[in-house]
Symmetry: C2
Subunit: 170 residues, 2 copies
């Protein structure tokens, strides 16, 4: 279990998808602009997320990324693991037994801690974050702003039946 800004990028991007799930796919260009992450870097992260089935891509105009599963079935731990791919085995594990046969005590303790941490993050789903009323409220307000912008700036109000959302709302 590792936790870096890379993992944070992935988690916040996934939250973005989860929030706008009902409006069709979200483009990486949007996320890139909103969160100030470079587009190509996001592409690399999403390649990993896609490999784990956490997201699915939709090509062509009106395309973007969607959650691979309902947000209630995606845990924070999964997201972090997908991008951080941290096998990070403690050094002495297969290496040499630290003191004649039994596994190094402190490494055992670390695995214990690591397991507890994973359990904690695996119990937190995307849904548990975005389904809180105050979040829903802000998100709803942004949708109306976004659709107002979408109607103010001209063309292509719908694509494939779903309403297009202006890129600025995040």
């Amino acid at each position: 279990m590792k936790l870096s800004t890379k993992g944070r990028y992935a988690v916040t991007a996934m939250m973005d998808l989860a929030i706008h799930d009902h409006q069709g796919p979200v483009t990486l260009a949007d996320i890139s602009q909103c969160q100030g992450i470079s587009l190509s870097y996001l592409e690399q992260l999403f390649a990993k997320l896609r490999k784990e089935g956490l997201v699915e891509g939709v090509r062509g105009p009106g395309g973007g990324y969607r959650l691979g599963r309902p947000s209630s079935q995606i845990s924070i731990a999964e997201i972090i693991n997908a991008v951080d791919e941290n096998i990070d085995v403690t050094r002495c594990l297969g290496n040499k037994d630290c003191h004649g046969g039994e596994k190094c005590l402190t490494h055992q303790l670390w695995e214990d801690l690591s397991g507890r941490l994973y359990g904690f993050l695996d119990n937190l789903t995307l849904a548990s974050f975005i389904n809180r009323p105050e979040i829903r409220e802000v998100s709803r307000r942004q949708d109306t702003i976004a659709s107002r912008i979408a109607t103010m700036f001209p063309p292509r109000p719908t694509i494939g039946g779903t309403t297009v959302v202006a890129g600025a709302a995040c």
Copy 2:
């Protein structure tokens, strides 16, 4: 909140101190040898831990490091924070408001998550790991092995009144 191998090194080293607390200070040379971490790198980590009051150094022969407080009053979060010093502010925070005044929604959500994670790790103390009976048992067995080694190999059986522990037990 960040979590890397650096943090892991610090946590396992602190667990080491906690386990051998009753036997007087533990030298960095011991920890270095046991856990396969370079001595000077450990020194750098311990400099930070010392700055936070988590450990205290004892110079001279028979010296080493001791916990700065009882293990029941040292949390995992404190240890990780001490060495990772990760201020890691989300990019848009003071920068520019993402959408006209209110704080970016996903960054708000991240802070929420980050806070929960910190809370979790702050509730885990060193003591909660090492005071479990099976750990105490292994640790006790190692002590006897260590003291047996200490009596087999000759000199300086005691320093300052406390029994010297051979370096190999970890």
